[in-house]
């Protein structure tokens, strides 16, 4: 009974929403970090294998990083909406 009333209070005061939003933002940052880390790693490897192609590899790496950041920012915006709305 006490737990239920605590839960109801937390849900009504938007505390749960804020905590959920903070968690979501953290997870989005982890996801972006892992994704861009993998891209950076494989880009460095391929530059090491073929230094002449480093210009091409660099532009492809930046494009892929921007796309992944787009997805991460999506999650951040939803988290912000969860706090504000």
């Amino acid at each position: 009974m006490i737990t239920l009333s605590i839960l109801l209070q937390a849900a009504a005061s938007m505390a749960v929403a804020k905590m959920g939003a903070a968690f979501g933002a953290g997870l989005a940052a982890i996801g972006a970090g892992i994704g861009i880390g993998k891209i950076g790693g494989s880009a460095l490897e391929s530059i090491a294998r073929q230094p002449e192609a480093s210009g091409d590899i660099r532009s492809n790496m930046i494009v892929a990083a921007a796309l992944i950041e787009g997805a991460a920012f999506f999650a951040i915006i939803i988290c912000l909406l969860a706090i504000v709305l």
Binding site: V63, G70, F74
Partner: protein, 360 residues
């Protein structure tokens, strides 16, 4: 109220890439001069800088405010068409002919009027800060590119000179690295004007949003309606130019087993959702990147004042680290300005290429 304005503008200057230690001490000093200690609200501070406004605030010095009032054009259900300068609001304090700027609630910061006791938004086509910034960047773009185009006709066959030589590598970059690989040698020319326009428009507006002095400092590409219009253009051009191959790929994707298309058309539904989500993601990506960058800079600056409220020495110490971080973030934002313009243009070109691809 006036103290907050003073603080806002001094933060505005600190948030630029110039280390402003002198003005830092000035505003701490001013903080002590006032006898009312107004609580610093970081949330409102950040949102006020990112959102649109009815006047262009330039400077606040002690008790003098310098801001450029902009026209407010509203059409009310009750009283019809009104056009007046936003100076009539006296920085949000007074009402004028029934219109006033709501200080809180869902219409915070926007012009509202009270009809039957409810706060209601009239049809608002004011020239706000973003509209004026758009017009200024439009004038800059037109001026630069019309002069480059005239230079090409006047100096036919000669080496490029001046603004031409600055723009030529950029234009060739868009043509050779973005348009030709994505759309193909035969069809890319039709889309070049649009691709060039969005590339330079997004890049210029991103850069202008980073400069805190007028005419920069308006968060244009961080306004979701502006990015929505850009993505809408991409969507319309893709849909209108989609050839038979494109629509077959969406509704009858080759290589997919028949039971995914009939009786329950799963694959066509997924592909159709893709048609709408791709421009939507374009819009959100640009908006989120630019707004997030501005928010981070503003958050670092607000950190100074949050700590400054605890103790002035803590504020001084935080300001050193904060300003260094702000400089670093601003450098990163310069890079992001170019990358976001590049990615928007590249993805638009890819969508055009997919829409006009021939069967192979």
């Amino acid at each position: 109220m006036k103290n907050i304005h003073r603080f806002l503008l001094i933060f505005f200057f600190i948030a630029s890439a110039v280390p402003a230690f002198a003005s830092d001490e000035h505003d701490q000093h001013a903080h002590h001069d006032t006898h009312k200690k107004e609580k610093f609200e970081p949330g409102n501070f950040i949102m006020d800088h990112i959102a649109d406004a009815y006047d262009w605030h330039i400077l606040s010095y002690k008790d003098k405010h310098i801001s450029v009032p902009l026209p407010v054009i509203v059409i009310s259900e009750q009283s019809g068409f009104h056009m007046f300068m936003s100076s009539k609001f006296h920085h949000g304090h007074d009402a004028y002919k029934g219109f006033y700027i709501a200080q809180e609630g869902e219409f915070r910061g926007k012009v509202v009027e009270k009809i039957n006791g409810h706060e209601v938004r009239p049809f608002d086509i004011s020239m706000t800060k973003n509209v004026v910034a758009l017009l200024i960047s439009m004038i800059i773009l037109l001026w630069v590119f019309i002069s480059v185009a005239k230079a090409y006709t006047k100096r036919k066959g000669q080496a490029p000179k001046g603004m031409q030589s600055l723009m030529e590598p950029l234009i060739l970059f868009v043509r050779d690295e973005i348009a030709k690989p994505a759309i193909g040698e035969k069809k890319y020319e039709k889309y070049m004007p649009f691709l060039l326009t969005i590339f330079f428009f997004i890049w210029l507006n991103n850069l202008m949003g980073l400069v805190p002095l007028i005419p920069g400092g308006a968060n244009v590409t961080g306004n979701i309606t502006i990015t929505m219009v850009l993505a809408l253009f991409t969507f319309i051009i893709t849909t209108v130019n989609g050839n038979k191959n494109y629509w077959v790929h969406i509704f009858n994707t080759p290589g997919v087993p028949w039971w995914l298309k009939f009786p329950v058309p799963l694959m066509p539904l997924v592909e159709l959702m893709g048609v709408f989500t791709k421009p939507f993601v374009l819009m959100v990506r640009l908006f989120a990147n630019i707004t997030a960058g501005h928010m981070i800079v503003l958050a670092f600056v607000s950190l100074i004042f949050i700590f400054g409220q605890i103790s002035p020495m803590l504020g001084y110490g935080t300001s050193v680290i904060s300003v260094l971080f702000v400089i670093f973030m601003d450098m990163l934002e310069l890079l992001v300005a170019l990358i976001q313009a590049y990615v928007f243009t590249l993805l638009s070109a890819l969508y055009f290429g997919m829409a006009t691809e021939e069967h192979h």
